[in-house]
């Protein structure tokens, strides 16, 4: 094994190969942009519902707030109804008064 580990031809070949330019450094140009594009594409592909839900979150919030305002403003009789409900406890004396003619 010792002889094998120090084979001159083989070691010479490795030493020569290490001097080689293994790749063109220009390949690295714009690499991070390609990676980010792939990550974003994958993220959108994995969770399209979540992605759109996140994008539309401001629209949904505005919709909920405006609906709340519209409901509040378009029901002026609401306070009267509440008063009527508060008077429900008087129903029985009114019925007795009606039938007894008082």
């Amino acid at each position: 094994m010792e002889n094998d580990l120090h084979d001159t031809n083989l070691d010479g070949l490795f030493a020569a190969a290490r001097q080689a330019e293994f790749y063109d450094p220009n390949r690295e140009f714009g690499f991070e942009a390609r990676v980010m594009a792939k990550i974003i594409a994958e993220r959108e592909g994995e969770h399209p519902f979540l992605f759109w839900a996140w994008r539309l979150i401001t629209v949904f919030s505005l919709l909920v707030v405006s609906l709340g305002i519209w409901v509040y403003l378009s029901e002026p009789g609401q306070l009267g109804d509440i008063r009527a409900i508060a008077h429900l406890g008087n129903e029985e004396p009114i019925v007795i008064a009606f039938w007894s003619g008082e």
Binding site: N9, E21, F22, F31
Partner: protein, 188 residues
């Protein structure tokens, strides 16, 4: 995630990525792409594969960054992912298509000489390495081209040091046979 060996800037960068900062991840890619390209280039033969595998590696880094414990420098962790991805590539490639025999025969008919250029030596070696098993090729590339120690190869691949040594021995034996054959052909 507070490794004694890890620089605070790297820790901060990882935290920023984990909090959803895409620009921080782009910065991480910029910092480590040279190392990753350097590793992958020793396992692939064309630029398209090189780019695809490097992208796959950084995609894995992005997806698994939450598991980075910080007990080793980030560069080691990224290198480990790179090496494992290259190993998967070699195994897939071996299943898909063997190197055509005529291709190898052509390379071996032009055996390496002492004064051959780096790129010629690399071309010859690539063709010879394509005859080895993926694990043998992995070990010999990391030991002899990346110039890693047995311990480092063991840490990168997850194989025991004994296994790395055995695989290196077998790989060198196989390469020696190829070399001897090619020198034999030249002398005849």
């Amino acid at each position: 995630m507070s490794a004694p060996g890890e620089a605070p800037a790297a820790v901060r960068l990882v935290k920023n990525v984990l909090s959803g900062d895409d620009e921080a991840f782009a910065e991480l890619v910029r910092k480590h792409k040279g190392k990753v390209f350097g590793i992958v280039a020793k396992f692939v033969r064309n630029n398209a594969d090189l780019d695809d595998i490097c992208q796959e590696i950084f995609l894995k880094v992005y997806k698994n960054l939450k598991y980075f414990r910080g007990d080793a420098p980030l560069e080691h962790w990224v290198s480990k992912i790179a090496v494992n991805t290259c190993y998967d590539f070699l195994r897939k490639r071996r299943k898909m298509a063997e190197v055509p025999l005529e291709d190898v025969a052509f390379a071996l008919s032009n055996p390496p000489t002492e004064d051959m250029s780096g790129s010629d030596a690399w071309n010859f070696l690539q063709r010879a390495l394509s005859h080895l098993l993926p694990e043998e090729r992995m070990v010999i590339t990391l030991l002899n081209l990346e110039e890693k120690s047995v311990r480092e190869v063991s840490a990168l691949t997850g194989w025991s040091e004994a296994k790395v040594k055995v695989r290196a021995f077998r790989a060198r034996q196989a390469l020696k046979r190829i070399l001897d054959d090619s020198y034999g052909k030249r002398s005849t």
